[in-house]
Symmetry: C2
Subunit: 348 residues, 2 copies
């Protein structure tokens, strides 16, 4: 185990600056240093200042391993995800990292296959070995019973991001998917569309099912009809969007607007329209959901719903760090109006 140190191996034996050095320089006990660093009460201003100066001068960084070993906190938050779009994960990470950085925490990421039993193992392994202070569960893991049970058994706090099922099982952060879908539907309606088709998320996909409800309720509220052929089922992929698009565009009475329950499927619809020689948005309006980056690369630019993904992760991480008692938190969403919606027949 020591023969790993070749001639070029870096010198890992440099002694680090410890709390003891700081204590010595400040002329106090190590415990007082610890108190100052952890912002514990009952420290005089004089000692606090002396310690802070000494720490700054020595450029002292507490050793997280020692902290975790001695104390209760590991200063590590885990982000567990399956594999939704990379952009989505990336946004989550940005938000989570921002919150971590602010509080001196660090982010450890773990990927799992949510379908497999692997979930249990990965969580047990990561938590057991890393002593995470909390875990962020992102879709579709936010509704994964195995993951939640395991975390509960291990007694680790966790927050679910954009869950759908079991709303009160654990703290969560999300948006009101149903309201967002309804508002988008009203937008189409108000722009003069009546024949609106919907491409639903795959069966069983959680948060997204609420998008379908939002669409249907909004249509009902306005007194609009949704013929059976106007409800297509997708798989959240571009390809499934192309298929659903072709099916809808082949209908005897063609919809004047198509609401895809995510942006990838909306992209597919646009491709289908290109292929069918249909003018966008003149002959067909298309809207999506998520505001993934592709929405800004399409032609025309896609009108969609923006979820504050990064903010959601940030809020969730804060909840974990603060260990507050908050339950389900709903953040605001935005309807992003771009060029893919034109005036419909009823408003011409």
């Amino acid at each position: 185990m020591t023969d790993r140190d070749g001639p070029a191996a870096p010198d890992r034996t440099v002694r680090q600056i410890t709390i003891r050095h700081v204590a010595e320089r400040a002329g106090v006990s190590i415990k007082s240093v610890s108190r100052v660093l952890n912002k514990e009460p009952a420290v005089s201003a004089a000692i606090r200042e002396a310690v802070e100066r000494a720490a700054a001068e020595l450029n002292y960084r507490p050793n997280i391993s020692a902290r975790a070993l001695a104390g209760a906190r590991s200063y590590l938050i885990g982000l567990v995800y399956d594999n939704p779009s990379s952009n989505y994960v990336s946004e989550l990470q940005i938000g989570a990292m921002a919150a971590c950085k602010r509080a001196g925490y660090h982010l450890v990421i773990e990927q799992v296959e949510s379908a497999s039993l692997d979930v249990r193992t990965v969580i047990r392994e990561a938590v057991g070995t890393l002593r995470l202070d909390g875990v962020l569960l992102s879709p579709p893991l936010s509704d994964n019973d195995l993951a939640m049970s395991e975390l509960e058994a291990l007694g680790i706090p966790y927050v679910r991001i954009a869950p759908y099922l079991y709303p009160d099982r654990a703290p969560s952060v999300g948006i009101d998917d149903q309201l967002a879908a309804a508002q988008m539907t009203f937008h189409l309606w108000d722009r003069g569309h009546r024949d609106i088709a919907f491409i639903a998320p795959p069966q069983g996909h959680a948060a997204a099912a609420r998008r379908r409800d939002g669409f249907l309720h909004a249509m009902a509220e306005r007194g609009g009809a949704v013929p059976p052929g106007f409800m297509q089922e997708g798989a959240f992929t571009t390809v499934s969007g192309i298929e659903a698009g072709h099916a809808l565009l082949a209908l005897p009475t063609r919809p004047t607007a198509i609401f895809a329950s995510n942006d990838d499927m909306a992209t597919g619809v646009m491709i289908a329209a290109y292929q069918a020689g249909i003018d966008l948005p003149g002959d067909l309006s298309v809207v999506g959901f998520d505001d993934s980056p592709i929405a800004r690369s399409l032609h025309p630019l896609l009108t969609t719903v923006r979820q504050p993904t990064a903010a959601m992760a940030e809020a969730a991480t804060d909840m974990l760090i603060r260990s507050g008692q908050a339950r389900a938190v709903a953040l605001d969403f935005d309807l992003v109006m771009r060029g893919s919606v034109a005036i419909g027949p009823a408003a011409r």
Copy 2:
């Protein structure tokens, strides 16, 4: 600090299963358990087996904090990145995580603004506090002097992913960008294109500058001419691709093919072509570089160069974990032929 435990607070006082429990159950000393777990030599088969059984029965997981504190290794690898495309980062993470998982390591991610002095702080903070065993530097940090100097000062091994500058400064993993660009250029040439324009990466952007060299050398080798107007400068964004595309398409002699040095700019070129009413790929062939997911969402599908991003990160992580002496490693790339290249004038 203790009033954080509300009534609903999880019981974090559960004692974990330690090496001592395993030792007791196996009837050996804790040191022997440690030896077995670390696969040290000089352990009899009998003890090895007894320890392994006991550990499995107790479902024992070594505490990473204690390991890091007592020993030399923290079992933590850091991935530092600025913010290239989210897909790219995601691929890196997948590769790095795979290598980590295999070796019982975990991945900590840190984002920095490479332009700012922040780089130093983030690295010092993360390394100083986490005791990382190694750091993965991803573009554009792979060429960041500040980052490298800091890591060298700290004595932490690091591997650069897809670097360009200072090829021998530290171990690195990449592809041969110049060769890839040359091969793509030959591909266009061989399909009958002679008037080929190039949209270069922003000044100073590292690995990508080699793409420009590859293009120019390939053209020179075939005896082709590259008029000044055919070399445009982009900013790696879709918008800059649109601008460059419009500039190129407004030229008196229009190129029959455009080689954009990344996929986002190729997307922009396609949008510019749509807007100018130019038929793709009939009147204009377009190729990109990176094989980002958008390449598969465009219409027509984009021909591009696929970098084995995940494999690069995986190889880099392995190098870190094994602490081998390998230097610059070049992995294989692929030319992904899709529909965006048509037969050019010279081959008709």
